[in-house]
């Protein structure tokens, strides 16, 4: 029994046909089914931003939230109950939207192929900010690649659009859209099935556990943000029997403060987790700003990053260093593991059949602790790390009384540098005293060479990160090209 997926587009409620397969991306749906070809495919992996569209959702406050996302790795069924804005929606006849007009005035397009994506990222920015600032503008555009302009005129357009207008017809019509979306609210579990497979969106954690318990593990994908799962479809051309979507499970969208720690539900996006993490661990948050792009952070989740178990996932080494735990759940109950114990081998986790990640819990900082995260990649923004190092020490009279060090990119799993930690105990963080710990890193890790970095660089850079951490602690300041600017 299929239930129609419905979303709002150009003011109309669109009902997704019953024959639309569960792996259909929003991009393909727009281009092929709706013949709206303004949204472009540049990479089909969420890395170029040419397919950027904006999703409008009811916020907790009742207003509308605008999020730029990559349509190429978003499944059309994820749009259920939401509003979708594409580049075709912005102009009113011949009259361009302020974002578009600013792009034209600033000479922000050359070949024009990336332009719709930039326009939509700027459209979201226009709705999220009262005024532009350089840094947040670059954050907002880091997921959009342009090969022609050198970006200067696009950044200029991002500033100029605020001079042209303070609001637009969308902000003026928010109440009507909110009412329209309220009408799409679903009371029951979403289940859409075709001959190819099914898309299920449970509404509660109990439903989720039930759904997963009844399905074979290999043929069932758990979908959180889709920033990796989407690529299994677009790149590996795989198609599972079932996709089980976490986006409607209310309990998984919460961030809970438990006094000495915070618990982040598995459905919370990076973007939504950011503020909570920023308040506790600004160093962690600084790194999260570089994890993926605005579009990825608007879709992807910390829980997905953890459950996916990539050796180069960025959040896990930081959380391992902070002593995070992961809460696993299934129909038969729940259990908690230290995050580092969750990873058993390359892309292999402790998750058992029917089990899913419910949340991750991160401890709040202790007053005598020092913590830093360093992400090394060829490009500053939106790049997968060659090495990611997270250092967390507790000092007692200048000596290391406790140390947790997490690394990504150095082994088959996100891992602790236990020998290095041991070698630091009782030491001061002075250059001469940390030499044994620096040497111990070579015992903890024998990294691989691949397209992101050679083993030589990975090890040397990891050792230098330890040196850098100590220098920063000693000098009481951040050291680096970002901090210097």
């Amino acid at each position: 029994m299929s239930e129609p997926v419905r979303f709002v587009c150009s003011g109309q409620v669109v009902t997704v046909g019953r024959d639309v397969p569960h792996t259909m991306t929003v991009l393909d749906y727009l281009r092929r089914q709706l013949r709206r070809t303004g949204t472009k495919e540049g990479c089909a992996e969420g890395d170029c931003g040419a397919c950027t569209v904006v999703i409008g959702e009811l916020s907790d406050g009742g207003g509308l939230r605008y999020r730029a996302v990559n349509a190429c790795i978003l499944f059309v069924h994820q749009l259920d109950g939401k509003a979708l804005f594409t580049v075709e929606d912005l102009a009113e006849g011949e009259k361009l939207h302020p974002v578009q007009q600013a792009m034209v005035d600033a000479h922000g397009s050359q070949c024009g192929f990336c332009t719709p994506g930039f326009v939509m990222s700027l459209f979201a920015y226009f709705h999220q900010h009262a005024a532009p600032d350089d840094d947040s503008l670059k954050d907002a555009l880091a997921g959009n690649l342009c090969r022609c302009t050198g970006y200067r005129p696009i950044l200029e357009a991002g500033r100029r659009m605020f001079e042209l207008a303070q609001d637009d017809r969308f902000s003026r019509a928010e109440a009507a859209l909110a009412a329209q979306l309220a009408g799409l609210k679903r009371s029951r579990m979403l289940r859409h099935s075709t001959a190819a497979g099914e898309f299920i969106a449970p509404g509660s954690i109990a439903e989720l556990a039930e759904v997963l318990a009844g399905r074979p593990q290999g043929e069932t994908w758990i979908l959180a943000g889709g920033t990796d799962v989407g690529l299994w479809v677009t790149k590996q051309r795989r198609s599972p029997r079932s996709i089980v979507y976490l986006g409607r499970v209310a309990e998984l969208q919460r961030i809970a403060d438990h006094g000495d720690r915070i618990e982040i539900g598995a459905g919370v996006t990076y973007k939504d987790a950011f503020a909570a993490i920023q308040a506790l661990h600004p160093e962690f948050a600084r790194m999260l700003r570089r994890l993926g792009s605005e579009q990825i952070r608007n879709s992807g989740t910390l829980g997905g990053n953890v459950a996916n178990g990539s050796p180069i996932g960025d959040s896990m080494p930081a959380m391992i260093a902070l002593g995070a735990t992961v809460q696993l759940r299934s129909r038969s109950g729940s259990r908690s593991l230290a995050l580092e114990d969750f990873y058993l081998g390359y892309r292999k986790t402790a998750l058992q059949a029917g089990e899913f990640v419910e949340s991750v819990t991160v401890m709040k900082p202790k007053t005598d602790s020092r913590f830093a995260v360093y992400k090394l990649s060829k490009r500053f923004d939106q790049d997968i790390s060659a090495v990611l190092g997270a250092f967390h020490v507790i000092l007692d009279g200048g000596q290391v009384a406790g140390a947790r060090i997490g690394f990504g990119g150095m082994a088959a799993v996100p891992a602790r540098a236990r020998k290095t930690e041991a070698a630091l105990l009782g030491r001061r963080l002075a250059e001469a005293e940390i030499a044994p710990a620096v040497a111990a890193l070579a015992e903890d890790f024998q990294p691989l060479s691949d397209m992101r970095a050679s083993s030589t660089y990975r090890l040397l850079a990891a050792q230098n990160l330890l040196r850098k951490f100590c220098a920063e602690v000693n000098e009481g300041r951040r050291i680096g090209v970002e901090a210097a600017q």
Binding site: R35, C43, D47, Q110, G112, F380, R452
Partner: protein
Amino acid sequence: MTSFASRPIKHDSAPKHVAGAARYIDDLPEPEGLLHAALHLSERTHARIRKIDLSKALCLPGVRAAITVADVPGDPDIAPVVRPEPVLAKDVVEFHGQPVAAIAADDLATARRAARLVEVEYEDLPAVLDIAEAVEKDILLLPPIKLQRGDAGAAIARAPHKLSGELRLGGQDHFYLEGQVSLAEPREDGDMMLRCSTQHPTEVQKLVARVLGKPQHSVTVECRRMGGGFGGKETQAAQFACIAAVLAQRTRRPVKLRLDRDEDMIATGKRHDFLARYNVGFDDDGRILGNDLLLAGRGGWAADLTGAVVDRAAFHADSSYYFPAVSITGLSCKTNTVSNTAFRGFGGPQGMAATEYVIDEIARYLGRDPLDIRLINLYGKTERNITPYHQPIKDNILPELFEQLLASSDYRQRRNEIAAFNAQSRHLKKGLALTPVKFGISFTTSFLNQAGALVLIYEDGSVQLNHGGTEMGQGVYIKVAQVVAEVFGIGLERIRITATRTDKVPNTSATAASSGADLNGKAAEEAALILRRRLADIAAPLLDTSADQVVFADGEVRGGGRALPFAEVVHQAYLARVPLSANGFYATPDIHFDRANGRGEPFYYFAYGVAATEALLDCFTGEYRFTRADLLHDCGQSLNPAIDLGQIEGGYLQGLGWLTMEELWWDDKGRLRTHAPSTYKIPTARDLPADFRVQMLAGHPNPANTVYRSKAVGEPPLMLAISGWLALKDAACAAAGGRRVRLDAPATPERVLLAIEAAKRQAARPANAVAAK
């Protein structure tokens, strides 16, 4: 009078771009019965093909055709210059990812699934993967080029100081946002209509006709716009157009072939990576006395345009400097990797970068500021102005450019400030470099320097403009339209810019070598001038004046103190039975080159520029930022300053990407592992230098008789980015305690850090160990 020429007019498609209304090939309404195509790519690096089995692919429901090279009805070789270059692998595969078979199916998913069901039996052959190995074994695609003046060997031997060494410069993927795509539609009489994202419609037409075994008049190619080209769609669009056409002819149905990003990056050629070896002799002041340079470019498995690319590298290995005695050798190396191709600069950047690096090394050796070594070696205006290919440089404005940028960038003062900063900063170091650009304008294959245009005036006074230039974002359409508007004195809204089509203007050259506006602008100007003369003849008696007194301006035709609307004169011309369409043609004068003897004047003129870039380096990790860049570029009398500024800024950042973060990484089996934006990183908005100051040189119209005295601008600014790479080298030297470092490109954080480490290790090694080695 310049009412339209030289104005910062917006790109003609800008309002459509921002509204998502500009249509690219994949956006066009799909014709009835359209089939979608997909490719099966080689899974071996070098192997004999024993057998290709298409049966499983053909059995998949929805599959309408599956072809190999044996199914090509005409000549399957699509080499643009030198054969062989089969459209699908013939007998052997020569790189991992070479197209072997193609499928047409009812939908794209089925086509792609079927492509994976093609089974190929291979017999592996030994593969050559590295340029050095090809040089060693003399495995070349084409004969070397040699440019020689004087006796370099003797001059080096006599020189007070000598340096020799080698460096590597990486390749670069074009990363045009729109991948390769073609739509082929069979028409009446066995004709074929192609819509193709290509910089070279005529060559696509020629090669499609060749593979179909038809005359060229049976094939029409249209390109309205590309989503980026950068050289990647100069020759390499043709292969996919040909495959689509063969499938269309076979199935008698329209066929669209659109590569996905991974296939595009794996199966299409890139900027040539180079190995450079230098041997240079100089005096105490750093004046170069003799220079012997080897430039070995990776052509990949087939020649494509490699010969011309390596030639251009050799032509630009003088950078901006005079060498009293010089020998430059360029090699076109064959390797079992994808066939490299044109890419903005076309070898020029590699030749220039190698020599700028050598200059930097001389400065480090002598303990001098590299700027001073540059200044002392700079070409003179009337003496010391002969290039290694014996062309005298007659339009040198480098001294003015240096002077202006030195002042505006505060170079000398900042050099001192940076030295002071580096002396007190242990973990962070700064670097600064100022480098020039001198780029020769013209196709070095002289006959390519021709263009045609067709201008039509309709009875209502509206104008349709056709020419051979293709639009890839660089603004050639608007620039040429400005020229025509200028000639007729009418508004741009009266001129319809059309798609480039081979049935409007035949036998065109590629839109390449920065020549688009130069060549097509001149051709369109000529066509418009022919028509204007005819209109003046009509208007003169109406205005009671002579034809030579008639002026076209502001939508009017004026003379004898009176004025007529342009449309009225057109209407009168029509009634008088005067032809209102005209062809214009242009061939660049005065250029020639004798390749066998390395002598001639291949360039009509030079475009110049100079840039200073500052870098900040983290010595722990090799991470860096570019904190400031000052660019000064020569566009002659710019045809459109807004468009040209876009070319300067965009070219600079693209060049910076090439030299810093964009790394193509092949594994030991010859598989490209960086074939999508997740692994291949082009610059983002944050990678633009935080303080970015760009100026166009004023008051220097092109002394050559170009269209409105403008200069070509597509490629030259890319090379301004060499200053960024050498700023990093400067910072790395500071981090290595002032020692010389070898910093190959791309200078990723890894390469920077390991370069510093290597320099430190070398210094730490005992003297006898160095001697023993």
